[in-house]
């Protein structure tokens, strides 16, 4: 029997399989190269990039929670110029679509980033992070309101010819409403979910564990919320979705695909198994073989039918 086809296309991003990495959990790729042949990934989404370098939040920045973690990195990154000069050339060696996650404090910053990355060789798409809970200005604020989310997307779209994936926050009353607004504003695809806002208190010290008080909850704990978000948005809109949130196994990834995701991203799971992405790709292939399915695309949204 022929091997099943795993290839998918997300708004023009051609992926050899539906598995990519979640921004901020896979660095700029080289960090995981000892464990993962990057050529085998469907795509890579790199750490959130800003116009200027950012120091990030003070430590502690991470704390373990039941089946999850809270992080408050605060978008520490070397800035877009450094990314283009130092990180991108490394990634260009691989047969791998590079999706650049961008964030800003103002609509103008998002637009400037999009313009700067437009036409840069080796960049396949932008992922617009309007949903990071760990920065004071911008970030979550943009993603929480359909109007401001749309404004960011509109500016980004007019500053680039790259496909624009918009990353949604689950910390909203209606993720469908935000999704509708950004799709109307031109989003070519949506990715979801970013982290849930949470906190942990150290009862002996009587203080929040994270120096930044609150952080973003990720990992298996949030998977049911993420699958639900994908399900709802797939129902409401015709737009490719990159699903993420707590994916650890191939079975978890298939849940998102059946809920309506065209591709999936692996985040926190990389921390517990550096080969998680590859194990998931192999597991998806095995599942398709077992179930006699020839093309992964047959399963997109299958749980709705």
């Amino acid at each position: 029997m022929a091997k099943p086809s795993l290839a998918v296309d997300v708004a023009g991003i051609r992926m050899k399989n539906p598995v990519t990495t979640a921004s901020g959990t896979f660095g700029f790729g080289s960090e995981y190269a000892p464990f993962v042949d990057l050529n085998r990934l469907g795509a890579i989404v790199v750490k959130g990039t800003t116009l200027n370098p950012r120091p990030g939040n003070p430590p502690p920045r991470i704390v373990e929670t039941p089946a999850g973690i809270l992080n408050s990195i605060g978008l520490q990154n070397p800035g877009v110029e450094h990314f283009i000069e130092a990180a991108l050339p490394y990634l260009r060696q691989f047969d791998l679509p590079v999706i650049v996650n961008i964030a800003g404090d103002t609509v103008e910053e998002y637009a400037a980033l999009a313009a700067r990355l437009n036409g840069v060789p080796g960049v396949a798409a932008l992922e617009v992070n309007i949903s990071c809970p760990n920065v004071k200005k911008g970030g979550l604020a943009f993603g929480a309101d359909p109007g401001s989310a749309a404004a960011v997307v509109q500016e980004v779209k007019s500053a680039t010819r790259l496909p624009v994936v918009v990353k949604l926050s689950p910390n909203v009353t209606s993720i469908v409403q935000v999704a509708e607004a950004v799709v109307k504003a031109g989003a070519d695809a949506l990715s979801m979910i970013n982290t849930l806002l949470g906190m942990v208190i150290d009862i002996r010290r009587r203080r929040p564990v994270l120096a930044n008080v609150m952080g973003g909850l990720s990992g298996p704990a949030i998977r049911p919320v993420a699958v639900r978000a994908v399900w709802q948005v797939y129902r409401a809109l015709k737009v490719p979705i990159v699903g993420m949130g707590g994916i650890v196994t191939a079975g978890d990834a298939l849940e998102f695909i059946m809920a309506g995701a065209t591709a999936v991203a692996v985040g926190t799971a990389n921390f517990i198994n550096p080969r998680a992405t590859l194990d998931i790709i192999e597991g998806i292939e095995r599942f398709l073989e077992e179930e006699g399915i020839k093309d992964i695309r047959e399963l997109i949204g299958a749980a709705h039918r």
């Binding site: 660095g27 120091p55 990030g56 926190t268 921390f271 517990i272």
Partner: protein
């Protein structure tokens, strides 16, 4: 280069109050490890606890392909580890991080270990003795029951060990940094390596600055990935140019840092 392997437990023994020594069969890691590096271990196949746990490499036996760890039971991860038996298997990533810079031959070295902080220093001390550096280890612990190398610690290692305990039940009665200060005052030393609680490291850094001596510290911070990708594990270090400071990743830029590189205002950090 680091690998991720499934390592079998060859031996596990309790060596002190809540302190354990474990031998793992991990030839791929043992063959490449240098003192100061660490491994990142998954203590359970459950999703709770979720993260791996970092432990310094306490020693290697390259012929037998074994890795030695020395650890203190703190919370759930280390408890799960302590409950493992010979023959059990564990996912282990390593060797990770940047180890200690080795000094010129003949330079006189002091190792300062606070509690379980001796773990990486023993590996280093063995290496230094092989390179013919004169080595003295100072060990601080809460009491005679908390001495991770056993009461006669020094008998198992090829260098001298002097002990200080907080309660005076063994060796000097007081902080281990008192012993260090005496040694430095006697000018018997060219280089200091330390690992232990934040307070001890801070005090050590002050002494080194006062005596104008170089030192390297092995730090601890909460980790996510262990490989430099997530930026969870940063500590505050000196900046350059306009930047007053810079957050550096303990997992790849450390865990070993030059003493004069560290900025000591982090109240919140686990160990510094």
């Amino acid at each position: 280069m680091a690998t991720d392997i499934t390592a079998r437990i060859i031996k596990q023994e309790q060596v002190g109050l809540g302190q354990y020594r474990m031998n793992l069969y991990a030839p791929e890691i043992a063959s490449r490890a240098v003192p100061g590096q660490f491994v990142y271990i998954r203590c359970s196949s459950s999703l709770d606890p979720l993260l791996r746990r970092p432990l310094s490499i306490h020693g290697v036996n390259r012929e037998r392909g074994e890795l030695l760890l020395l650890y203190q039971v703190i919370g759930r991860g280390t408890s799960l580890l302590a409950a493992k038996r010979q023959g059990d298997q564990l996912p282990v990533m390593g060797p990770l991080g940047r180890g200690f810079t080795l000094p010129e031959p003949e330079r006189r070295v002091i190792l300062v270990g606070g509690g379980i902080g001796v773990a990486p220093l023993v590996f280093l001390g063995n290496e230094l003795v092989r390179r013919k550096n004169p080595v003295l280890m100072l060990v601080g612990a809460r009491s005679i029951h908390h001495l991770p190398l056993g009461r006669e610690g020094g008998n198992n290692v090829p260098f001298n060990v002097t002990v200080a305990t907080d309660d005076g039940t063994c060796g000097y009665h007081g902080p281990v940094t008192d012993l260090l200060e005496r040694a430095l005052a006697g000018r018997e030393v060219d280089m200091v390596y330390a690992c232990g609680p934040g307070g001890m490291l801070r005090q050590t850094a002050m002494l080194l600055a006062r005596y104008g001596l170089p030192g390297e510290f092995s730090l601890e911070e909460r980790m996510g990935c262990g490989v430099g990708a997530c930026l969870s594990c940063v500590c505050k270090t000196t900046g350059e140019g306009e930047r007053p400071f810079r957050y550096r990743r303990v997992c790849v830029e450390g865990p070993v840092f030059r003493a004069d590189q560290l900025v000591w205002d982090q109240e919140e950090c686990i160990n510094g």
